[in-house]
């Protein structure tokens, strides 16, 4: 019964996804609570990111235990920030009055960042790639 098997697989996938998302929410809540309680200068979400990264690197949590949930949360990120964007209705006047200025600032600013970063990274990358190739070659010579 391939149809039933497919349905069961889909159910299991959905349940796993929900559990993993739930775990992410739980970790986020605990970290948020701890960061406020201890008056930490870093927000709970970034603290949680650090904790999860340490857990993953030290192999205390296997990658596949969080893989599904993480992929979903990152994949649907846009959905989560649509609501704050909608509240610009409140600032309608501001955008009517300063719309052109805002767009000008954003476009010029974005071009600056993209060109500047791209230019720097393009050069540094070529340099570091050469460096890596040399390092690699040296290692091979030693082995030989």
């Amino acid at each position: 019964m391939p149809f039933l098997q497919a349905a069961i697989r889909r159910c299991r996938h959905g349940a796993l996804l929900l559990i993993q998302i739930g775990l992410f929410c739980l970790l986020s809540l605990v970290c948020h609570w701890f960061a406020t309680w201890a008056h930490l200068p870093i927000p709970g979400s970034v603290l949680g990111l650090g904790i999860l990264l340490i857990l993953l690197i030290s192999k205390l949590i296997p990658e596949r235990a969080v893989q599904l949930g993480a992929a979903w949360l990152i994949g649907e990120l846009l959905l989560f920030f649509i609501p704050p964007v909608i509240s610009i209705i409140k600032y309608e006047g501001l955008f009517e009055q300063y719309g052109v200025n805002i767009m000008f600032t954003l476009v010029i600013g974005s071009i600056c960042v993209m060109v500047g970063t791209g230019f720097v990274v393009d050069r540094v990358f070529r340099f570091e790639r050469q460096l890596n190739i040399k390092k690699h070659a040296r290692r091979h010579v030693k082995v030989a």
């Binding site: 989560f80 909608i86 509240s87 200025n101 954003l106 230019f119 393009d122 070529r126 890596n132």
Partner: protein
């Protein structure tokens, strides 16, 4: 009689709040599905979904507090989503160890260019203070930007909007800019997109190539973390 009761229910605030939530989710997934089938820039979910929802909320006369009654739960998911960024960092640890210098310099350049360019531009372009402050974190991914903007005195909602527009601009201008500036390496393109256009840039970078996409996401995450951690210090410099 029955009809008016049904109408009363539909027009009640609770159901309007519920409609808002369904509307948001439906528009988002609808736009996503449409964009998958037709790759036209104005159908990109980052543009199409917010515009559709704003038009609908405006025309249905849904008051903002009602709109937020349930949809603020969607916003609450930004924090778990931030934590989820640990996984791409873990997965690409090899790439990070291979090009530590490139990535570090890219992150530093992107972070400071973003703030300095805005800081200089708002000196010459008249904008209200709340807006110019919200603009400082505009090239950082939304969850980080909304967290960091408070340190600069920005408004989270305005920041989210600025971040969104920045992402759309980055997606549109990247290809001609790369050609013009002769940025050809995959890391150059990836870091530039991640630094200037965050999530939207990472999505665009994935269309350009796999490595571009990975490196764009990594840059975006590192710049976001650096921005949140450094915000109190940056605020002293730029405000």
């Amino acid at each position: 009689m029955a009809d008016s009761k049904v109408m009363d229910f539909i027009m009640s605030q609770t159901s309007l709040a519920l409609i808002s939530l369904l509307l948001t989710v439906f528009c988002y997934f609808g736009a996503k599905g449409l964009y998958k089938r037709h790759k036209v820039w104005w159908l990109a979910p980052i543009l199409f979904a917010p515009v559709m929802i704003i038009l609908l909320v405006f025309n249905l006369d849904i008051p903002l507090p009602t709109y937020f009654e349930y949809t603020h739960w969607l916003m609450a998911m930004l924090a778990p989503a931030t934590i989820a960024f640990a996984l791409p960092i873990y997965r690409e640890r090899k790439l990070i160890c291979q090009y530590p210098l490139t990535i570090t310099l890219g992150v530093v350049a992107g972070l400071f260019l973003g703030m300095i360019s805005t800081w200089l531009l708002v000196k010459f372009i008249p904008l209200p203070a709340e807006l110019s402050k919200s603009l400082l974190v505009r090239s950082v991914s939304t969850p980080f930007a909304m967290e960091a903007t408070g340190a600069f005195g920005g408004v989270p909602e305005l920041t989210a909007m600025m971040v969104l527009i920045t992402g759309i601009i980055g997606m549109l201008v990247c290809e001609p800019l790369f050609k013009l500036m002769r940025i050809r390496t995959s890391l150059g393109k990836g870091v530039a997109l991640g630094a200037s256009a965050h999530g939207a840039g990472a999505a665009k970078a994935t269309e350009l190539g796999q490595q571009e996409g990975v490196i764009a996401s990594l840059t975006m995450i590192f710049i976001g973390i650096a921005m949140v951690l450094g915000a109190p210090v940056f605020a002293l410099i730029f405000i």
